[in-house]
């Protein structure tokens, strides 16, 4: 059996392939993106970047009902977007197996919140599996497909960043080929008219009862007996930290956290002296353990926010002297993420800064434009909420506030869920300016294709959606395209459009600097001409720095975009 080091995401892809999955859909989102990127390289699986997570789950359900094993993958907040089909899919059930991956982000490494999606299992009435490393991620996705078919129900697999992005050893096996079952019309199952849905709800409760029995005996939930003085119940990566800190304790390691194995937990609790629940973020297991009337240590000691770690566990439960005298140094300059040298967003935000405007931001690399030196946006809420925020603010303020209302949204985010907001703004007649930062890719998650790029995930040429025509069709008459590298022109157009006081879309179009094919001549600053006025620093380009009263360009970082050349009032840059 071949052994490989795989990330949790790669292991989910491998497991899906081994399980005979033939259809997979996702919208890119950290930390889930690599699942479909990896799976699309295996033979025999149709993979797509869907336009958003709601679409991804619906198309996967469609494929499942048509008889092939199907996967939908997304980050935790993506499941909010897909919540509508999620609840319906629980009633309907499946054709062939349907597995839904949610990759949660405790610690908010790359997200706007740290919601705990195990609760979706409780609310939508779906089984939830929680792997603790890559080997389990691969195993659980295969078991997930089996459970899905055995119980006629979609299965949620909950990863966290530390499982999705950690690499550990995985034993590879071969793919099981499954014939396509084919589509069969089953009106009372797949049509949720109230008359049918009432019956499906009764059926769902029966399926859940059977799943609860399954949860009591499945090897997914594992007892590891050690010293009976201390019993630890845990799931996911928290298990790994707990094993590290308490090598001798007794463990109930839950791989299936919902439906909850009540009897197993009661049995475990009766055999240990002290009971602790160790889990990240919310007290999900703890609530269910307490519902059995058990006394337990949990979030009264452990943090409810951020990631756990072996160190945090030790400090929270049994404080011990530190192993080193060295401490974190809070006075060191922070290194927040920054836009790249030559990033076209730099040009847009340079042109947008200092506009006295109310500016809604959105989700992508360009969210960083809210930080210094640009300070060019006020909000980051959720995918698509730049346009709707600006619309709401515009209606609320009407004529009482002279500041223009602007929304800044990326191309991929616009396709994901900006279009509906734009139609709403046109239909309900708000006076907002929407700027689409069209860098021809999904930048933040590592350059995935989308409906505006002309290519699919599987590398096929396809239709390219025309943003200008699309915005016009959404009801916006004034649609202008600018090149953000041309700073003066971009600024002039923004000011003109603000002055016109009518709804407008500005498409700021220039390929992401990391994928752009043409590179310019690397720029230099002549120290004899530079007067140290710092005008060029307002661009926020990481290739420009300032030493001893003069600006300098770091030649190994510069990509030669030339934006700074236009900014220098003395012509010192060439």
């Amino acid at each position: 059996m071949e052994k490989q080091l795989l990330s949790g995401d790669e292991a989910i892809a491998r497991g899906s392939w081994e399980a005979g999955c033939k259809f997979a859909a996702a919208y890119p989102g950290t930390p889930s993106t690599e699942i479909l990127e990896t799976l699309s390289k295996y033979p025999g699986v149709y993979c797509e970047w869907s336009v958003n997570e709601k679409v991804a789950l619906e198309v996967a359900l469609g494929a499942s009902l048509a008889g092939v094993r199907s996967l939908a993958a997304m980050k935790h907040v993506g499941l909010n977007v897909a919540a509508d089909p999620l609840f319906s899919a629980a009633y309907i059930g499946t054709g062939a197996g349907l597995v839904i991956i949610t990759a949660d982000d405790p610690g908010l490494h790359s997200s706007q919140n740290e919601q705990d999606n195990r609760f979706y299992g409780l609310m939508a009435k779906l089984p939830v599996l929680a792997p603790a490393d890559s080997e389990e991620a691969k195993d659980f996705v295969k078991k997930g497909f089996d459970i899905s078919e055995q119980f006629d129900i979609p299965v949620i697999i909950r990863l966290t960043t530390r499982v999705a992005h950690s690499c550990s050893v995985v034993n590879l096996t071969e793919r099981i080929n499954r014939p396509t079952k084919g589509y069969e019309k089953q009106l009372s199952k797949t049509n949720l008219l109230p008359v049918f849905a009432r019956l499906r709800h009764i059926d769902l409760e029966k399926r859940l009862d059977r799943l609860k029995e399954f949860s009591e005996t499945t090897p997914l939930n594992r007892l590891e007996w050690g010293n009976p003085e201390l019993g630890i119940i845990c799931d996911g990566v928290a298990y790994q930290y707990a094993r590290e800190v308490y090598p001798d304790a007794s463990f109930l390691k839950l791989g299936m956290v919902f439906p909850f194995p009540d009897q197993l937990v009661l049995e475990f609790a009766s055999k240990v002296k002290q009971l602790i629940v160790i889990e990240e973020v919310d007290p999900f297991i703890e609530l269910l353990v307490k519902s059995l009337g058990l006394k337990v240590t949990g979030k009264n000691k452990l943090p409810r926010t951020g990631e756990l770690s072996p160190y945090l566990l030790r400090q929270s439960l049994a404080p011990a002297p530190d192993k080193t005298n060295l401490k974190p140094e809070p006075d060191l300059p922070n290194r927040p993420p920054a836009l790249c040298p030559g990033c076209p967003h730099l040009g847009l935000f340079y042109s947008l800064q200092k506009q006295k405007a109310i500016i809604g931001g959105d989700i992508g690399c360009y969210t960083l434009g809210a930080l210094p030196p640009h300070n060019a946006m006020d909000t980051c809420i959720d995918m698509g909420a730049s346009i709707t925020f600006a619309h709401g603010a515009d209606k609320a303020l009407a004529d009482t506030d002279p500041r223009p209302r602007i929304a800044v949204i990326g191309d991929s985010t616009f396709f994901h869920s900006g279009i509906t907001g734009l139609i709403n703004a046109a239909y309900n007649q708000s006076n907002i300016i929407t700027i689409i930062t069209d860098n021809r890719t999904t930048g933040m998650t590592g350059h995935q294709d989308h409906p505006g790029t002309g290519k699919t995930l599987m590398g096929k040429e396809t239709v390219t959606i025309d943003l200008e025509k699309l915005c016009t069709a959404c009801g916006i008459e004034r649609v202008v395209t600018v090149d953000p590298y041309r700073l003066k022109e971009t600024k002039k157009i923004i000011q003109q459009i603000i002055a016109q006081k009518q709804p407008a879309v500005i498409i700021s179009r220039r390929s992401c600097a990391l994928i752009a094919e043409e590179k310019g001549q690397i720029k230099k600053i002549d120290p004899d001409i530079c007067i140290g006025c710092k005008s060029c620093l307002a661009l926020g380009c990481p290739a420009i720095s300032f030493f001893d009263g003069k600006a300098v360009i770091i030649s190994t970082a510069c990509i030669g975009c030339g934006m700074c050349v236009d900014i220098c009032p003395k012509g010192a840059i060439s």
């Binding site: 052994k3 080091l5 950290t30 930390p31 993106t33 690599e34 490494h109 790359s110 490393d133 960043t161 530390r162 992005h165 950690s166 690499c167 550990s168 050893v169 990566v237 298990y239 790994q240 930290y241 094993r243 590290e244 770690s309 072996p310 160190y311 030790r314 530190d322 192993k323 080193t324 005298n325 060295l326 401490k327 974190p328 140094e329 060191l332 300059p333 922070n334 290194r335 927040p336 993420p337 920054a338 836009l339 790249c340 690399c365 960083l368 210094p372 030196p373 933040m444 998650t445 590592g446 710092k534 620093l537 926020g540 990481p542 420009i544 720095s545 300032f546 190994t556």
Partner: protein, 195 residues
Amino acid sequence: MNLLVCGVGGQGVLLFSDIIARIALASGFDVKKSEVHGMAQRGGSVTSHIRWAKKVYSPLIEEGTADLIVGFEMLEAIRYRYFLSPNGWLIYDPLRIDPLPVKIGLVERLTDEQLANRLRLTTPKNIPVPAFDTACALGNPRVQNTVMLGALSQLLEFPQEIYEDVIKQTVKPSLVAINLKALTAGATLITEHRQ
């Protein structure tokens, strides 16, 4: 073995860590490696935790238990040195990449001397490895991580050939020659330091 690698997004920290983890696996160990992708990679501070032993549970290294820290940049080496065990080694590139808030003048820039003083306080077992300058001298600043790999190879117990093999398997054929040169140059930096 607990190895922490830190640096700045874009320096090749993740590829470097990937190579070490593969070498540990090929040498028969259980291995875990943990890092974070996404927003942090956009010029932010990047770390990778690599652990190998007969059996490894936690993918994260506990503070004060790293046997080795490899810092690709001075500020980052200082930022994460509190992970080092009292007997651990710190190797670091004395390169400076100022964070954006420093570049644009929002935060005061620490002088080279201030940084060097802080590093000296870390542990007697610290070795500066000018990997970036060496890579530039070899004609390709991007092989900084391979110079570092060569330096690290002198502090780990894996045979030298295994590094060469992994490089041949990982990098593009046209880049094999310069990466092998970088590997040797890195190893030499450590042997020279020891003399």
